[in-house]
């Protein structure tokens, strides 16, 4: 239950090919995150799977059955939209029961399922409110509730947290992860926030302009990005990419080194530079180091509090074991 296979799936809007032919396997029970910059086709891909858009070519099969031509309701999938898409005129109870009602389920069974879902999501005391009377996080949970009751083969989430504020986002992220632990249903989750991708996914699919750049577990992507695009996309702050003689020293066209893999010392080290803006978060400090001759700016993370300020000279030393090497096409060597 919950295996999804895309083979040669293509989507064109008019003349524009938004998704070139694409193959992807999603295993039962996996938590797959589609990640990529804005406009790269994440939502489109999700909607193709949901059946809200027709594929221009290729096949989608769900649990081995060809679902390419099926209408959305017949695919056995549930979707949680970015805007939640709750029915504002129905109570929470009715919202959650709506798919059951549409399926013609009898009233008692509807109620039973709604109560169960509400319990899982801590919504029991809000069942008679309308969406308008709920906070953002609660709305989010109602949307999830509506998806859960149908016991779908897979959940589809389209940036479900992007409308929440930072604090709530962290909480909801956790709740969705816990839900996945509990239900073990396949989940496909779209985001452009790489922290979400890293913390939630079993498997991350990095998309760029409709093409898959890399598929793998978060740590695989962190440790071994297949190309500079993935390298730049995964990890925060961004990996420093260096070209030129210093890269050539490592036998590569480009080398990448993450801010957390660079040591900082006031007097000695490999590369010399000048401190620009520094961001003190208390727990960590990020320095922007200029004039290293490597790249316009190098970002460096120093644990805790460090006594360096704007204009100071520093020396940087990369952890040689953590250097990523790329050829002139940006492909990992």
């Amino acid at each position: 239950m919950g295996q999804i296979t895309l083979s040669g799936v293509t989507k064109r809007f008019g003349d524009v090919e938004v998704i070139p032919p694409l193959d992807l396997q999603i295993g039962d029970g996996e938590f797959v995150v589609f990640v990529g910059p804005s406009g790269c086709g994440k939502s489109t891909l999700l909607r193709l799977i949901a059946g809200l858009e027709d594929t221009s070519a290729g096949h989608i099969s769900i649990d081995g059955r060809d679902a390419t031509g099926l209408p959305p309701a017949k695919r056995g999938l549930a979707m949680v939209f970015q805007s939640y898409a709750l029915y504002p005129h129905m109570t929470v109870r009715k919202n959650i029961a709506f798919p059951l009602r549409m399926a013609g389920m009898d009233k008692a069974e509807q109620d039973r399922r709604v109560e169960a879902a509400a319990k899982v999501l801590n919504l029991s005391s809000y069942l008679d409110r309308r969406p308008g009377q709920l906070s953002g996080g609660q709305r989010q949970r109602v949307a999830i509730g509506r998806a859960i009751v149908r016991e779908p083969a897979a959940f589809l989430f389209d940036e479900p947290l992007s409308n929440l504020d930072a604090a709530l986002r962290v909480g909801m992220r956790m709740e969705i992860s816990e839900l996945h632990e509990k239900l073990r249903t396949t989940m496909i989750y779209v985001t452009h926030d790489q922290v979400e991708a890293m913390t939630m996914a079993d498997k991350i699919v990095v998309l760029n302009a409709g093409r898959i750049e890399q598929v793998g577990s978060p740590l695989e992507l962190y440790r071994a990005p297949r190309n500079t695009f993935v390298a730049g996309f995964i990890g925060s702050p961004k990996m420093n990419l260096v070209t030129g003689p210093e890269a050539a020293r490592f036998d590569a066209h480009t080398i990448g080194i993450r801010p957390e893999h660079i040591g900082v010392h006031p007097t000695m080290g490999d590369w010399r530079g000048v401190v620009g803006v520094s961001e003190h978060l208390g727990s960590d400090t990020f320095f922007h180091v200029h004039d290293t001759g490597l790249a316009p700016m190098m970002t460096v993370r120093a644990g805790g509090e460090v006594g360096l300020t704007h204009g100071d000279t520093v020396f940087l030393t990369p952890d040689a074991t953590k250097i990523h090497r790329f050829d002139q096409n940006g492909i990992r060597l």
Binding site: G51, L52, E53, D54, P71
Partner: protein, 290 residues
């Protein structure tokens, strides 16, 4: 939302409205076109036959034709001018904090509910009448001679009546638009040193552009067809001073019972109305794009 299935459903669901309107347009239009090349007078049914474009020629060369076009433009333009400026001013006024806002709004909106014959009758008899009308009384009250509004300024009087009927509509739409103006934008302008006039001129007025477009568009459609108000008050006169294109067609159709010429006039009116409409869309339609 664009699966093949939903697109065909959309076509299906659109079709009743489109078909009905098509029939509603085509059938009378076809008959009208047919009549417009016939000699067809209701009162002389025995004199009939195909006359080519004689009816068009008769209509276009009738002495009142050009005046009617001018009057139509004046009527539409005048009413639009009054309702839009008046609507903006009133909207600005009742958007301010004041006591009894609800009642004020109800009073302002009221003329919109009045059926045209009643509106025309009220104005004609109780206000414009040079002997018994309130305006005459008022003029007499301040020692002036009563003015014969419908005789001396027939078109202007009709414009007043029609503008009175449409002022609430313009006011309401403009008021809603005004209230949708993000207050931060006004505050920003205030921080930028804009005085109240400049805030109106540079912030509010451009914000209202779209609403004004809609008001102009909808009102034009209704105003081009104004008939009852003229019929009740001046009957197009004196002379042809207040004859509009629609009224001219009415005169042919009803007074002369000349269906042929009226049909020709109708076709001419439709063509002219569409020219006005196209002109409107071109000139201001870009405001309508979302």
């Amino acid at each position: 939302m664009s699966t093949q299935a939903s697109r065909s459903a959309a076509r299906l669901m659109l079709s009743p409205a489109v078909l009905l309107l098509l029939v509603w347009m085509i059938v009378p239009l076809a008959l009208t076109l047919w009549f417009s090349v016939q000699r067809y007078n209701l009162l002389t049914p025995d004199r009939s036959g195909f006359v080519w474009f004689a009816n068009y020629a008769a209509f276009v060369t009738s002495p009142a034709f050009w005046l009617a076009i001018l009057n139509t433009l004046l009527l539409v333009g005048g009413v639009l001018l009054i309702t839009v400026t008046g609507g903006i001013l009133i909207a600005l006024l009742i958007d301010q904090p004041l006591w009894g806002q609800g009642v004020v709004r109800i009073l302002v909106i009221s003329p919109f509910f009045i059926m045209p014959p009643v509106a025309a009758l009220i104005w004609k008899n109780m206000f414009f009448n040079p002997s018994n009308g309130l305006f005459a009384e008022a003029l007499r009250g301040i020692g002036l001679a009563p003015f014969d509004f419908l005789g001396q300024a027939p078109l202007a009087s009709i414009i007043v009546i029609v503008a009175w009927q449409w002022l609430p509509f313009a006011t309401l739409i403009l008021l809603t638009a005004l209230q949708s103006l993000d207050s931060e934008r006004l505050e920003a302008a205030e921080m930028d040193g804009a005085n109240p006039w400049n805030r109106f001129r540079f912030i509010m007025l451009p914000h209202l552009a779209r609403a004004i477009t809609v008001v102009v568009l909808i009102q034009t459609i209704f105003l081009l067809g104004i008939l009852v108000e003229i019929l009740v008050t001046t009957n197009g006169g004196p002379g042809s001073e207040s004859t509009t294109l629609t009224f001219l067609v009415y005169k042919e159709a009803i007074l002369d019972s000349d269906v042929g010429t009226a049909a020709a006039g109708g076709v001419v009116a439709v063509i002219l109305a569409n020219i006005v409409a196209i002109f409107l869309m071109r000139a201001i339609g870009k405001n309508l794009d979302a």
